[in-house]
């Protein structure tokens, strides 16, 4: 069987599984729809959270980022996992004790204000849609690369599947599907990693393999070899850093606070039976995530070696088959600048503009021709960083079924995250906007119907974004984390740990954090991209790291304004005291 048939088989089987689970877990009440009835076992909830959290980007791109930037790529590993500590210690137990359905629910009640609730809904919808557009696109890309169907058809198939289990089963359906999706994606990620590790070091555990000696008899360890070849080719050393310490610090901080403030992650801890389970479940979630996140650096290191080993200085004709295969999808491009027929892989961008623009026709050696002008760098190869995970099985010469497995894993990662996001969007509309704000008289049944309609609408909008992606999907990820860090997280934490924060303080804080962070990012990314470098940044902090400053401003404003306004009513103080006890 060839790789494509295996991909069809595995993706098809996993879809059948998800649909089966959807039938088995239909939701019959709003409580089941919003929080799966609040009775999910902590270990299962941990798995579901892991799948929810690991997006198409985690699955496909992070290893690529780390492979190309070495130690500097670690900010994503630390930031996206460290947030779970904040979540487990500062948010999850108290929000579980609060015992409602959504994040704006808590903000609305704690700050006794419909304005605060509305601001929270606004942040939530913005963060979630930003995120979901990328997921739908991810589904489309996986379909087009692995199954060779049109990208738009891929998006529509993905939408239909999510529609089926999210609208029918709500959180209940999503949770149990995500458990299955976690199993698919962890298996799909680990199998190639183990193969790679054995290939380079004979050590079957990738985490240890990265620290081991190479099995080529050179006596070097993997990391020594990586440092050596990267420096030889003009890159900075793999284990060294070129980012400023302050910027690294701020980026990690922002990603951690942002992770803890992401609504679709927070809401997962509303689904377990008790406060103690919420803590335990956060631990399991991070454990399941850590299995993959500690493997990512190994995959990154080995695949960087693989890439250099098999491509650099090779002639185009003798290059492995995957080079021309991925060239045909536009993920690899080669421009023979010095006309020696060999592919030089060096530091710097090979092409101007950076992304390859292919034209009709083939060069002397059969390579695809480009309309890009050559850059000053000696580098002749463009490599898309997503290729590190996708092409790994071929680069390492793994059997075809592994490729099918990766396809199923990537689809699982994208679908699970999309479904989780859709649910928080739909519940904040049906629950926070309709039930709690505009139409308090609707019955549970009507609210459930509204939630389903909202989920359906959100899927269609998300699908539209997937088919017509805004050009800036990659840049807006910084947006989602910055916003979550600067708006929701401080408001929730202050609401639990300080009795003094008033509604005026909270609303002012959220708005200040939001406006500051949003304008900083919008200015540098969209209005004046020519200034988007360390020279012009505030204290040299990049747009990815600015959310931490936004969060601090939020807290300072909230505190100052609260001291100047009247304290919260006694009912709210009682609520705070109640949620502090388990």
């Amino acid at each position: 069987m060839d790789a494509q048939s295996f991909s069809y088989l595995f993706v098809g089987l996993s879809f059948a599984l998800y649909i089966g689970i959807a039938f088995w877990t239909r939701a019959s009440s709003t409580k089941q729809f919003y929080v799966a009835g609040g009775g999910v076992h902590p270990v299962l909830n941990g798995m579901a959270t892991g799948a929810d959290w690991m997006s198409a980007a985690s699955f496909l791109s992070v290893a690529g980022i780390v492979a190309f930037s070495g130690r500097d790529g670690s900010v994503y590993l630390i930031g996206w996992t460290g947030g779970y500590v904040l979540l487990a210690l500062l948010l999850a137990p108290y929000l579980r004790k609060f015992g409602r359905y959504t994040v704006p629910d808590f903000i609305g009640e704690r700050y006794y204000s419909k304005t605060a609730r509305a601001v929270a809904v606004l942040c939530l919808i913005f963060i979630s849609f930003t995120y979901i557009a990328g997921q739908m696109r991810g589904v489309g890309i996986v379909f087009s690369r692995f199954l060779e169907v049109d990208i738009n058809t891929g998006v529509i198939i993905g939408m239909a599947i999510v529609f089926f289990y999210a609208v029918m089963g709500g959180m209940k359906g999503i949770t149990y599907t995500q458990v299955a999706q976690y199993c698919v994606l962890v298996f799909a990620f680990m199998v190639p990693a183990v193969f790679l590790s054995i290939m380079w070091t004979d050590n079957p555990i990738p985490q240890l393999g990265l620290g081991s000696q190479l099995n080529d008899g050179s006596g070097l360890t993997v990391l020594q070899k990586l440092d050596q070849v990267t420096v030889d080719l003009g890159f900075s050393a793999y284990t060294g850093s070129i980012r400023s310490t302050l910027d690294t610090f701020m980026i990690i901080m922002t990603l951690m606070i942002g992770t803890a403030g992401l609504p679709h992650v927070i809401v997962r801890f509303f689904t377990v039976p008790t406060v103690s389970d919420a803590r335990l479940s956060a631990g399991y979630a991070l454990l399941f995530i850590a299995v993959i996140y500690t493997t990512i650096p190994a995959v990154a290191g080995f695949s960087r070696l693989n890439l250099i080993d098999s491509v650099n200085e090779a002639t185009y004709q003798d290059a492995p088959e995957w080079v021309s295969k991925w060239e045909s999808t536009g993920l690899i491009a080669w421009q023979d600048k010095n006309a020696d027929g060999r592919m030089q892989y060096r530091a710097g961008h090979a092409l101007v503009p950076m992304k390859p623009q292919f034209i009709e026709g083939q060069g002397t050696y059969g390579q695809r021709l480009l309309s890009n002008s050559p850059s000053d760098s000696e580098n002749e190869i463009y490599v898309d960083r997503d290729i590190m995970v996708i092409a790994n099985p071929e680069i390492a010469g793994l059997p075809n079924w592994v490729i099918g497995l990766i396809a199923a894993g990537a689809v699982a990662a994208a679908l699970s995250t999309a479904a989780g996001l859709l649910l928080v969007i739909s519940s904040s509309i049906s629950h926070d906007l309709l039930k709690s704000t505009f139409m308090p008289s609707i019955t549970d049944k009507q609210e459930l119907l509204a939630a389903r309609l909202a989920a359906a609408t959100a899927i269609v909008i998300a699908g539209w974004f997937g088919i017509h992606p805004p050009a800036f999907v990659a840049q807006v990820v910084a947006f989602a984390f910055g916003m979550a860090a600067a708006s929701l997280f401080p408001a929730i934490v202050l609401g639990i740990f300080s009795e003094r924060i008033s509604k005026e303080g909270a609303v002012a804080g959220m708005l200040v954090g939001l406006v500051f962070t949003a304008s900083y990012i919008v200015y540098f990314v969209f209005i004046a991209p020519q200034f988007n470098n360390a020279e012009f940044w505030l204290w040299g902090i990049s747009t990815t790291g600015i959310g931490a400053i936004g969060a601090s401003l939020n807290m300072i404003t909230a505190y100052t304004v609260s001291c100047l306004s009247s304290p919260p009513p006694s009912k709210v103080v009682e609520l705070i005291e109640k949620i502090r006890l388990p």
Binding site: G39, G211, A282, A290, T294
Partner: protein, 102 residues
Amino acid sequence: MSKSDSSQENKQAIADHYWLENKKILLSLLSIWFIVALVCPVLLVDYLDRFSLGGFSLGFWFNQQGAILFFVAIIFIYHGLMQRLEAQLPAEQIADDSQAET
């Protein structure tokens, strides 16, 4: 002072004690979190890189694996400490959510 008043006060005292202990646990675990997330992999990375651990220089190891492993440990330790603390609370002060909410 009536009997119910004193039991009310007693309850409040237990709740205050619980909250204080909780905050102590949080403070110490968050300090560890800060050290493994930001001090070791970022602020002290060059110093730690002089040491090595299983083929990794230590600072780099914290960047790519160590911090994550510590995070997992911190959450499970927190869960354990809080369970011990909660075991000291009288039963009537722990809300039984699984029944109260349905």
